[in-house]
Subunit: 231 residues, 2 copies
DNA sequence: TCGCAAGCGAGAGCACCGCTCTCACTTCCG
DNA sequence: CGGAAGTGAGAGCGGTGCTCTCGCTTGCGA
């Protein structure tokens, strides 16, 4: 994007961005299921068939939005992590969790897109993997930091889980004890359980004052991974 | 259903059931987004408009399927709970969790319907509430049982969460200590985080041997609620 | 510098969708 | 037994994703 090879290439980039912007707007207001190529084209003063010059199908447009959503979430989480730079690992963990929750609450449809039920026939291409990993990497980094500072309590894993725990550790963080990586993956999934229930309305009429509830749950999640306050 | 008031009423019940069956079949094979009234009607040898005599809209048909899904899940969980009748509470907890997971893995689209992203414009009517509560009630019952047997470890709740914890306890289980009900609600959400990640493919290429992983995570969830092995 | 291939937008059209309305026909109840 | 209510068929409305063709424009290579 720094080398505009020509007017046509620049126009193409601009129109592609405009399509994504309008699509994101419709996604935010109506949800993924009602995202319509024709409506996007209409809003842009184009005819629907012209859109296919930029995205070969509706699913490809959705994929682009998915990648963007992962990146947006990852960015929010990383910003929170950076802001919490000087803080002790358990509190940094909570800060990242709260950032995830905050982003999800302010982008519910995008959250649904990436962590809700997968879209009908379609499965996310490999393109999404690096963007999707950003939050996970952050959580790993926090635990690694604590571990190097000896601030991790280790809970043993049953024998039947031992091989799998070694596999997970090898994939995720070979420098961490396997049982810690198992707890980490579980906590990661559980975090999205908490966030998802709130975003999707499962807490309606059950939990009212959700922020302290979430903060407490996130803190206990941190304990589950072994992050302990040094004090 | 025990008093067939007439041929017409019986026919109506039968056709309604046939529609739901066919819809469920399409739901299982294609997912909620591709559930088409016209396709259901076609499979049944009817014309699409005739279907509206039985379900006023596609969303109403979906609602019926949602209630059925909640009931099916609740039934599976209750059956597992009954089978685990004589077992100590922490293990009964794990048994129910495993039943939820098992049901979700064998009914992924129905799971997505009830615990995935909510369908576009539509919000679940009150009709679904009792069916939706069945699993939760089971988990509450297990904890209550353990509590009456003094088998619950209580983790205090921060001051900022205390009012909310009392509110939750009043709603959910006034006979249990508020901090236990808070942990219970969190664990409930976290359970669906674990299950959802597995069903929706977030564990692909990350966790391979998922059954022991889940069993371990569920057991630690039980610990988080305060269920401890007496031994 | 010019010609031609590639890029692009418009439009028509296909098969599908949810949903509505009307019109016959049947069933059932007062 | 007659009228009201229930039922299914059919046509039709406006919408969808997607394809194909047709001209116009752009810009690269000879």
């Amino acid at each position: 994007m720094s080398t505009p090879q020509g007017a046509r290439a620049r126009a193409r980039a601009e129109i592609t961005a405009a399509i994504k912007d309008e699509a994101r707007r419709q996604l935010a207001s109506e949800g993924a299921a009602k995202l319509s190529l024709r409506a996007v084209a209409r809003a842009l003063g184009m005819v629907s068939s012209a859109l296919y010059r930029y995205f070969p199908s509706r699913d490809d447009l959705l994929t682009a939005l998915i990648v963007d959503a992962y990146d947006s979430l990852g960015e929010a989480a990383e910003a929170a992590h950076a802001r919490a730079g000087g803080i002790v690992p358990p509190d940094r963990w909570v800060a990242v969790c709260e950032a995830v929750r905050g982003w999800a609450l302010s982008h519910p449809h995008e959250y649904a897109l990436i962590y809700g039920s997968p879209v009908p026939g379609y499965s996310a291409p490999q393109t999404t993997v690096p963007a999707a990993a950003r939050v996970g990497n952050l959580l790993i980094a926090i635990v690694r930091d604590a571990y190097q500072g000896r601030g991790v309590a280790r809970t043993p894993v049953p024998a039947e889980l031992e091989p799998e725990s070694r596999r997970i550790a090898a994939d995720l963080a070979p420098d961490l004890p396997p049982e810690v990586t198992v707890a980490l993956v579980a906590a990661w999934a559980q975090l999205y359980g908490l966030v998802g229930f709130e975003v999707f309305g499962q807490f309606n009429r059950l939990v009212e004052d959700r922020e302290p509830f979430f903060r407490h749950a996130a803190a206990r999640l941190a304990e589950g991974v072994g992050l302990v306050h040094a004090s």
